[in-house]
Symmetry: C2
Subunit: 530 residues, 2 copies
Amino acid sequence: MDMLWNGWGDPAKAAPLPDSVTGLLRDLLGVKPRSTPALALDDLDLPAPTAGPAALAALAEAVGGAEHVRTDAESRIRHTRGKSTPDLLRIRTGDLSDVPQAVVLPATHDEVLAVLRVCADHALAAVPFGGGTSVVGGLAPERGAFVALDLRRMDALLDLDPVSRTAVLQPGLRAPAAEALLAEQGFTLGHFPQSFEWASIGGFAAARSSGQASAGYGRFDEMVLGLTLATPEGTVETGRAPRSAAGPDLRQLILGSEGAFGVITSVTVRVRPLPETKVYEGWRFASFEAGAAALRRLAQDGPRPTVLRLSDETETLIGLASPDKIGAGLGQSDAGCLAITGYEGTPEETAYRRERAAAVLTACGGTPLGTESGERWAHGRFSAPYLRDALLDVGAFAETLETAAFWSRVPELYAAVRTALTDTLTEAGTPPLVMCHISHVYENGASLYFTVVSAQGEDPVAHWTPAKHAANEAIGAAGGTISHHHGVGTDHRDWYVRETGELAVEALRAVKRRLDPDGLLNPGVLLPTD
Amino acid sequence: MDMLWNGWGDPAKAAPLPDSVTGLLRDLLGVKPRSTPALALDDLDLPAPTAGPAALAALAEAVGGAEHVRTDAESRIRHTRGKSTPDLLRIRTGDLSDVPQAVVLPATHDEVLAVLRVCADHALAAVPFGGGTSVVGGLAPERGAFVALDLRRMDALLDLDPVSRTAVLQPGLRAPAAEALLAEQGFTLGHFPQSFEWASIGGFAAARSSGQASAGYGRFDEMVLGLTLATPEGTVETGRAPRSAAGPDLRQLILGSEGAFGVITSVTVRVRPLPETKVYEGWRFASFEAGAAALRRLAQDGPRPTVLRLSDETETLIGLASPDKIGAGLGQSDAGCLAITGYEGTPEETAYRRERAAAVLTACGGTPLGTESGERWAHGRFSAPYLRDALLDVGAFAETLETAAFWSRVPELYAAVRTALTDTLTEAGTPPLVMCHISHVYENGASLYFTVVSAQGEDPVAHWTPAKHAANEAIGAAGGTISHHHGVGTDHRDWYVRETGELAVEALRAVKRRLDPDGLLNPGVLLPTD
């Protein structure tokens, strides 16, 4: 099934907001109903492709037939940009300036290499496309004429080694399919980002994804043991051993390369036995500060839950984690901050961790809320993007952004980003709700995930841009990284360059030039073009 | 204190082998007493430096005075090569073909940058020198005229953040000094490789070191959160957050770069509270296979000890881990395989892990040997290099090498390397003892650490080289990596290139050319020169 072209996910799962919420948005944030009706797919005015028949024929030959090169309007529109709020707002107004010339569907590593040769010959850029869930402009290259390299035909589990607990996955496998294939043999990857239902294995690797169970299973980049990369100059294969002292870790050079160095055509991952037990529960803390101190203690001294997250006061009040409860907490000034802890594993080991963690959380001032709030979180864990669609439908603006820092910088980072977003949007006449949660914890720091809801401006994308830029500046000034798990794309690129430093960026560009001398891979994504 | 110029460590700690062992070597391996007397430092014939007074004056200016540029014979000899057995054999015969022109001692990052500028101006190569403990030819560049950039003056703890549990260390800090500075504030790094007493923080990072407590504390590359790199083209700084999705992880590009990309001038590391409890104990397994299965179970399903290692039958018999017991086990055909488990942490947490791990080890067929064998291991954990000196002194040859692979490949790798070493040296007329232990474990694989003892050939280095090359070939064919924690240097470079692949190596060379366009940093180490 294809994802909704102008929103998130499965159209059948969409649900309008309850009237009470609509009223709340109107009264609290001044959200006004949209004055323009939504466009249908057929209404869109698609630019004619400039890629000629020779290029299309060569692409068809590269991928074993014309049926694997799609130039129809729907295919092209469905491969235009990703799923950030600006992406959705643009496509909803019919802006197809970033549409691909064609959608090419290779079935093998060698076909990917062949496609890249054709692209070089015909001056076409190539944009690898997995689940299409980028929220940072990762699918909108700078160069005009490009093909979307959709990897959906590369969707096999190639190998599973139960002794080493490793699996070789193709990049076009979407996460639920990967989990299903692994589950047949008793294993799981344990990677459950909010984009889980749609995102792909290759995309997880290319963008350094991190899932909601990262406290227990690690980030995706920590799960990756090997990668195969198809580049215009040939193939790179990495991963002879779990760890090595043989030079720099090339896996970590490919992870996060966002398609700019090559197309990831296979990923060797660490797998774990399917957990026998899963328990999620809620805890209440009097303040975000108190809750964060508790999370830090668990992250540093253990025992570490599998899932560990903490909403700030505003997010707890708004109850974003359970869309059906939106607004239910408003007015409860003592709601405090909701933490979710989850434990997955064997019954015995899970019980031990849960009991010990509960003692730590209690010692840190937490109050147990039982499993109901935990189960509610688990039930709604992938639903926030649907909520965003409903908010956009009623004329509200909703977007997320995220960062990470060392623990000692987290309070400053939290305050700085909140202030930047609140001040910028308030000054622009649309005072926002800014919510935040700690989404991932490490021994040495944590990530902060912000959600912003406000009224839309007249031109919603132009209205949002200064606030986003102010948040980016605040992140940099407060010592955070420009992205903890969404990636760089084109949206974060300028701040990424500042964070990384010119010389280091030049070193990465030297890698790109060696692997992609014509600059045809995702031009302008991650790295500036010449 | 300086390390012994022609051997390992503190001369005061050297001890001759007991006569019983000497007899054993003679009877078992045909070791004959050396026919040539050992050279003294004063006997060595040092090539005159070719670096002229202008270069030396400029270097002196770069580092704040002529007293920080040493050209005396002893300084130059002490910075010639590292501590592999071939290195020691060469220096013991007076081979000073790899001697530096001068030893330069910068005190700051900016002084390192200044030294690199002088090197570029005067066509001198620069070889970063930390503890001088390389065993892979990491200090023997291909280009003739070079200076040793000794980082010993950069030996401060620059910052300790007890909230984030991070510390900023200068590269010239030796591990014991680093631990002492951290201990003053209640913290430890937990990095205890065999080279602990001499190796430096910068060297750990540059060569991707891994310590004996890696099961609990992780590898050194897992401890590193940030790095500063001085290159001929300027400075690279990494590490804004524990983890990030902002592009490739540049830390992992610098880690393992072995001085070829730049000089590491500061390292931000994760630190942990000093453990209240340390317990080490021994376990006996009937076979290496059975013991390896037990280690794998702990590595994959936990609980994970802080120290976890397993000697094969031969190493257990020889008792290499406790030099004073050499030979004591010979004749005990039922010695089986000795595993060492260690637990460090709080008393309660340590007790839980120890009890649960004991249950797993028992279920896997292990027999507990108590803490005496564990304490003996801990007591002698840094002494093996002294033993090697004693063996070389009596005319034996002794060397180590190591690799890693995924668990399912470990048995094949073990057999292949043993066979390669045994066959090659036997055919050359010096049948060896080949011992092995699993030195580090991961969920998905393990490292194998081999020790070879035999009679010396007529030309000991030339005699050993074919066996070393045969082991390298066997590692590659059996799916291992050419080094798990010693690094690449010049000794492993050709096999590293084959393991990594030409295109990936070209990408790394592109990085080097961008950061070090004149190729003055460690030429030929890690990467081939043009």
